[in-house]
Amino acid sequence: MPRNRSLLVCVPDTNSLIHLREVEIAGRDARLWLWDEFEVRVGPTIPQEAARHPDLMRGQLRRKLERSAVSPAFDLGQIEQSFLTSLGISFEGENDLGERDNCSVTLQMVIQNSARQVIFLTDELRIVRDRGGFVKQLFDTYPIGLLWNSLDFLVYLYLRQWRFSYSEAESAVRTVNARIGGQQDQVANRLVTYTQHLQSIDSARRQLPTLWHR
């Protein structure tokens, strides 16, 4: 058994990084908080995808993303053949390459003990839906971690960071939810659900403020 606990790793998708743009939390770019909270790792495709949006991925963020890219030991084809074919999952060409790379990195990190569990961060609704979402299928079959969207990350930050005010959090959820998009009822239900999560945390903050003042 290894002596040290491996790290809490977050593997973000490009779309999450785009949706979290221009969202400030306690005076800091929301995306930079990812690196404050987790060990961020991404597959090799993510920095390439990010480079296609230079106005959204400037300076510190771009450098951090490049440093977080991993080159896994086993190539994507081998991983998909071994883990996904049996689930009936196949891909055409380079569709969803960024997400597939991230799945490959996630599997290899957990199995090779670079991480115990991974927070897989994506806002791509199609790949995480209950029926037919390949990432959902992967995470349901192999217990490699949690599926989060950017709203989950914002609520997590609001839970942990006292300096993240309620009004900031509410605005951030509204903005990122609008960017994630989808059918009107999906967008509305998400806004209501995540705002209610914030309200629950806000209620707890008011009742037990000393829990956050450490």
């Binding site: 605005s171 509204r174 705002t195």
Partner: protein, 403 residues
Amino acid sequence: MSALDWHLLLLRDNPFSISPPEEAEDVVWAGLPELKTQIEQKLIEARSSATTQVILNRGPLGGGKTHALRFYSLLDNWPPGSGQNVRDVVVIPVLTPKETGKADKDFYIDVLERLGMAHIRQTVVSALQEVGPEAALAALRRITGSESLAQAIQMLGGDDGSAQGHLFKVGSRTERNLLLDAYFLDGCTKAELRKLGLARNIDKAQDRFRVLAGLLHCFIGLAPDRQVTTHSRVCLWLDELEDLVYFTAAQYRPFTQGLRDLIDRLPGFFTLLLNFTLTTPQELDEIEIIMGKPLVDRLTDYVIFSEMTLEQALQYVRELLAHWRTTTPAALDLPPLYPFKEDALRYLIENLDKRTPRSVNKRCYNAAMAALRRGVTEGPGEIWVDLDLVKFMARSELDQEFD
């Protein structure tokens, strides 16, 4: 399907549209007398009182909210007031701005364009003449909270020979109006602002809603009293407010703040109707999350566009058919629901997921189409939508979308 085909069913054309007609004159009201009464009670109050109303029209998709907006945007469809009435009612139907950069600006432009700058100018002229230029300027200053915005609105009511003529020296009336139109709609260059004698453009969201308040108050009338007969009522009817969920915080805050500001600056003779679709039954606290508590706190009333009962739906179809008849069915010894056999129509309506006018229309249209295809050699009054036909049709065919 052509109008000729509908004639075979004793109808002028397709009565079962998916969306209400664009032109208010073409919109008919069928069935749903309780809903009509509910709405008209609010409109009677609008006609005969000074109260500012903020009314939430809530209901499922296809429930008739846009239909009601279009129907009542025509004043002829309004009920008469009770007792003393306002001079006039101005109905302004507007869509909630879609995913655009500046929702508050788009909304402001939409309202102005809906009214028309020529109409706005005429109205400002009348409002100024009614109370006099000094009282008008004082009222506009109070309403807008801004001297420069008040002056700009007052300029709309000036002409070359008036007291405002000295404010700028521009050749023709048309050129002056063009400059003012540009100021209100789009913005002017510094040189143009100097010509108009104005310090700055209407740049901020807050200013746009202040200007709207000032302009709408000119339609209401600038007299300081609350006498019903010396004022008009402005009804701003906002459709698809559920699209607020697509607004980022940067779009949402100025827009909803602006609406609240408008309500607060128009404490009389103003009706704001808000159409809001609920796809799942949602409690008020969930509506509050989407609309924002400050806006919800200003609501004065609700109209619920509920799903229809079976009997209500039958009445709805019967009355809708009656509006579109070429010949009354009775003249040919046919029942009022022709071409539908009653048991077939009941079957169509009974197992609908949502008994809204839109879903009823969809089914009726698809069933009528199927009947016409089946009875291609039959004459007028001979083609039927019967139980065998509708039972034979697959659910997907019954609920198929059409243009």
